[in-house]
Subunit: 334 residues, 2 copies
């Protein structure tokens, strides 16, 4: 069914508060889930909330914690999330980084022991709207096999980049897997085969059977290069956050383990550089109006599609499965 | 013919000195070209030297300049390369950044008006060997079309990441194009078709004719994601360096225009973070020994292949076309 975003937000906030989250933290956690729904990314939306509430109930997520942040160096914030809600810990770190980035020109925060931070575009865009360049990366459970390999050894290791322009910010958000595990589950639910090259089964054989793929591993996007990028993120985040490497990571897909993946946030003040926002905006417009391969599909800029979907979602509501809405309503009342 | 690396280096240094480069700068410029040859990357090797010397002769490259570097913020170095040799300007910036990264934990340099900096792995590896994480990105002439587009609107926009471990450093270096323009020229020379999906012709039509592709545009690697990454690099570098955006960039492939692309270097001190190098090294070893798709090809780690080729090149020499060697010898004598 289609629900107004405000109604979904109310239910999500109520459920979080009912499970112990203070109002401000409940609102922030709910906001990122609703933003994912609005942008057409339900894998990072409300379907994650029941598990998060179970994690709170079991003491695996602490809805009061914002993490402890230490300036290990003048421009480097080392954060122990202490089991806090991912968006709460990340946004607390971002607020601290903003002034450091203004002073230093660049500043970074590395975060361990925070729960799932959700859609990375949220942070990249928040940075860009504050006039800063934001670079975000995160790790996850082992779901991706190396290029030329057969075992799940890497996380989906997404990264996001937000860059202010003189109009809407550029917001890139990509996982380094060729597809999300959520999409493979969707194919399994619909009984449809997956394209060759998406995944291997538990024995490491290439498969088009989504059920077999669920127990196997997803390919990196873009062959050796995408694998390299995903591996670079795996190492970079672990090196700085002191978080787990994929084979040991737990806690973003279960309600049985503490979350031990890592997150990295880098802010850069473009005013420290020599470029200008108007030039970037004009270039993006030139890209949008450059020759398309399909005359009916203009060249797209990362973030444009999300922004359009968000606008439609705000005006005409968001589709959420009835069963999920009922579950959330019950959790808000329980 | 196969030449000892030392002999190639001597010829390159002599040619650079003969064209006005001081000994230390000639040695650094020659070193990065020889390192590319050793690693099996001739597109970034000696074949670039004749054009670079022509650029010096025409006043487009200043072999004496190291650039002027300004700390626009405590951790941000704004560099005008003043037409200096790329490696000279970049390594001068890196030396300045190293102490800033030790103090701040993270520091960045954005460089405009430097000549081609060559193989990015050189800088990423130099950072890692100095115990720092190095992230390097660079832009170029418009050679790549957007995903879903038909016109060359983006540079090949390579990036590199170097991360220290307890054994050899992790060194990733990738262009965001699906293939280099050099490889398309090689196919043209050999009269071989290029695979579908590599390029479009000047009219924006998909082509397997390398001659047609030379006047067209190369695809980004990895579809929409690789395009997004390349575009992110395009914007990030221009925003910080104040360098040109691809359609206006000249000077790395010609000997007629000043170089107006940009370069970005970020150094991070892993000692500011909470991870440890031994854990990273053990993880990379686990990856190397994880199940391969082809039993005869173990899972590869970015940088391993280059390192092996470099070792072989140092012991048994480097293949360089006779005509190129003769040209360089003449340029060293002229």
């Amino acid at each position: 069914m289609r629900f107004p975003a405000g109604q979904l937000r109310q239910v999500a906030v109520a459920a979080l508060e009912r499970h112990g989250a203070p109002p401000d933290k409940a609102q922030l956690q709910a906001d990122i889930l609703i933003e994912a729904e609005l942008r057409g990314l339900p894998s990072h939306g409300l379907q994650r909330l029941p598990r998060l509430l179970a994690r709170i109930d079991r003491g695996l997520a602490d809805p009061h914690a914002s993490g402890t942040a230490t300036w290990s160096r003048k421009s480097f914030l080392s954060v122990d999330g202490q089991g806090g809600l991912g968006p709460v810990v990340l946004m607390a770190a971002m607020r601290k980084l903003e002034s450091a980035a203004a002073i230093g020109g660049i500043a970074a925060a590395a975060v361990r022991n925070a729960n799932h931070i959700g859609m990375l575009a949220y942070y990249a865009e928040a940075a860009a709207r504050a006039g800063l360049i934001g670079i975000v990366a995160s790790t996850s459970e082992a779901l991706v096999h190396p290029h030329g390999g057969t075992q799940a050894m890497l996380g989906t290791n997404p990264m996001a980049v937000g860059i202010p322009t003189d109009s809407e910010p550029f917001v890139l958000d990509l996982a380094t897997s060729i597809v999300s595990m959520g999409k493979i589950h969707n194919h399994a639910l619909r009984g449809e085969p997956i394209p060759a090259g998406w995944a291997v089964d538990a024995a490491g054989r290439s498969t088009t059977d989504p059920e077999a793929a669920k127990g196997g591993a997803i390919a990196p996007f873009g062959g050796a290069k995408g694998y390299g990028l995903g591996l670079g993120i795996e190492l970079l985040v672990a090196a700085l956050a002191g978080s787990g490497l994929a084979p040991e990571v737990r806690g973003t897909l279960d309600d049985t383990h503490p979350a031990n993946k890592g997150d990295l946030l880098i802010l850069i003040d473009p005013a420290a550089g020599a470029g200008d926002a108007a030039t970037l905006g004009a270039y993006l417009d030139a890209l949008r109006s450059s020759g398309p391969a399909d005359p009916n599909r203009p060249v797209a800029i990362p973030g444009d599609g999300s922004r359009a979907r968000r606008g439609r979602g705000l005006s005409s509501g968001v589709d959420v499965p009835d069963a999920l809405f009922d579950t959330l309503s019950a959790l808000a009342a329980a």
